[in-house]
């Protein structure tokens, strides 16, 4: 089969393999379990309540 003149050479590395590995069509690909969130140490005190940012005083008459 004649494809015409060669134009260029591409180096193609797909992020996702085009070859299905059991994840198609009904079952989605298995994603890794989410990492557990850090919890406070035992006996650690209650952290102080965070203050809100001070609001700037409105400037009038400027």
């Amino acid at each position: 089969m004649y494809l015409g003149e060669p134009v260029r050479v591409l180096h193609v590395e797909p992020v996702v393999s085009p070859v299905p590995d059991g994840d198609f069509p009904e079952v989605a690909a298995a994603l890794p379990e989410p990492r557990p969130r850090p919890t406070p140490r035992r006996g650690a005190g209650v952290p102080p309540a965070r203050r809100g940012r001070p609001r700037p005083t409105p400037i009038t008459g400027a």
């Binding site: 015409g4 060669p6 180096h11 996702v16 299905p20 059991g22 994840d23 198609f24």
Partner: protein
Amino acid sequence: MTAPDLATPVGGWRVWRLGADDDGPVLESPLAAASWTPRTAVTAVCHRGCGDAPAWGCSCGLYAVDDPRRLVGGLLHHGILGCTALWGRVVEHGDGWRGEHSYPLVLFVPSPDDEVLGVPVGALTVEQARRAVLRAARARRVSGLGETLGDALRRRYAVPVHVLPVSSPGAFAGHAVGALAGRVRDECVRGLAARRLGDRVAAARLDRAVDRLLEGLRPDLPPLPA
């Protein structure tokens, strides 16, 4: 170490011949002694001794074209049409590509299945056609009662399989469906990662593009506006 030119595979149209092994139908090259093992990427090998197929100055590699109407009639009349992914080293030509690795993304079987099992002779010799019929019949028998060729291909290759509304993929040549086929090819590649992760919207987008193409090929509908 060189950065890749593309992070998604190149998509192109090609035709496979229908073969069979002990577990069902197998896609084979219509011109070379190569077969696409289900769920395995096929890798090009040069029989002339090129070190890294596809080579620039050789004709080796796995072929695909940008428009299904470029596939010559002899190939289309007895084949399974499909859009394939090419990756690795890919030589881009004016009308298509030669790739290092290939795997189908979507397949189209002529309607009905019996037409495929009958294998219109086309460019095949009578003996070749007879062997193809026997292989296809064998594949149908071992793949389970009532399982159509499309079902067997879908089960083995795990890609969408659609039935063409015409008895031969050669009907592409007589319809103005170039733009619709281009959308299917683009969507096959663009939505690949999302479909693999189970994105139903991406799967529906490909289905819509395929539906539009199949509507354009139906002989009982008026031709699409240009």
